[in-house]
Point group: C2
Amino acid sequence: MTVNYPDGRQFLRKPDDQLQSNIKPHHRDSVIFGGRGMSLEETINTSNDYYRIQNKAVIYKKPTPIQIVKVDYPQRSQAVIREAYFRNASTTDYNGVYQGYYLDFEAKETTNKASFPLKNFHQHQVDHFQNCLAQQGICFTIMRFSSLERYFVTPASLLINYWSQQSQGRKSIPLKTIIETGYEVKAGFRPALDYLEAVDQLIAKTNLKNLGENHGSK
Amino acid sequence: MTVNYPDGRQFLRKPDDQLQSNIKPHHRDSVIFGGRGMSLEETINTSNDYYRIQNKAVIYKKPTPIQIVKVDYPQRSQAVIREAYFRNASTTDYNGVYQGYYLDFEAKETTNKASFPLKNFHQHQVDHFQNCLAQQGICFTIMRFSSLERYFVTPASLLINYWSQQSQGRKSIPLKTIIETGYEVKAGFRPALDYLEAVDQLIAKTNLKNLGENHGSK
């Protein structure tokens, strides 16, 4: 059953007996939470709002960088930008702070069922991840397999590793590898996608790894 | 002597014998580094570029948030935004990662000589600082006294403290207090403003304070 919302969004609703999660979708303002019906960006943004309100983390999507050329200032009205151009981004889309850690991530989705295409990413994002990892930032990607409605938080090192293999013809990251290396997150409600639960595991693993390296060098 | 640049910027140049710094300004592309002649924003942005190239920190200014309403896609030309509006910002202007720390700051300037006006700041910036401090972010303001050509990195707690005093008529932060509580930074070259040197001191002081609090609670 397809629900058509006034703003053009569509929602494909499964009959209740086929819902995968034991959390019933919650209806609010004709938007169904729980990941289904919201775009990946909306899902993450509402989760970030929830984290902020709960004083759990302060994470925002970066605004799209633009070059403003002309602005009109009509009388008794707000300023209107009349000519502007999209600038090339230098960073990833999301960053923030969580328990003292710098978090930095990119969120992408695919309709593929067995692998995640590398063409969804861009060189500047990979470069940015490398720079942030060098500064001990916690860097990851949120990958959504929309046909499977499965979400994974994967360490940025996985993307960096497979990205460098493009020269050998590598085109995507297998789902199997993402399951092994990443942390699955279930869509839900409040927050719509509790990705920080996966980030906790990523941080714990990163800290263990750093401890091990420190011991090895003594 | 006033130098007029083609893009409208002006530079008031002192005779060489009055230059305050022992670092000679370096001329490059008709922009004089060393803090003099560049806006505060340019000074910080070029410093951030330097830090990034030197693999010292990854810090960026956040793009201005805008709401895009109309975009034209002319043939064989790049997309042009034809109607957009400035959105209210929710955060401060700058953030990034430095040696594992989340850094978050706002940069402001005044022509005043004895105090820094609170009206240069906004409630959402103060709120954002409080949220980030609660997550153990390293938060500060870069304050430039342009008539004195002096720069200070001050802990965000100073702004938060004085901000709350506005209800009692407080209008500004005295320079004396900024000198006592903050860390002065000299404008220079590569980077134009080495504010991270001051941030190192802020981090050290923050860590000492946290250690003291941990001991006190045992």
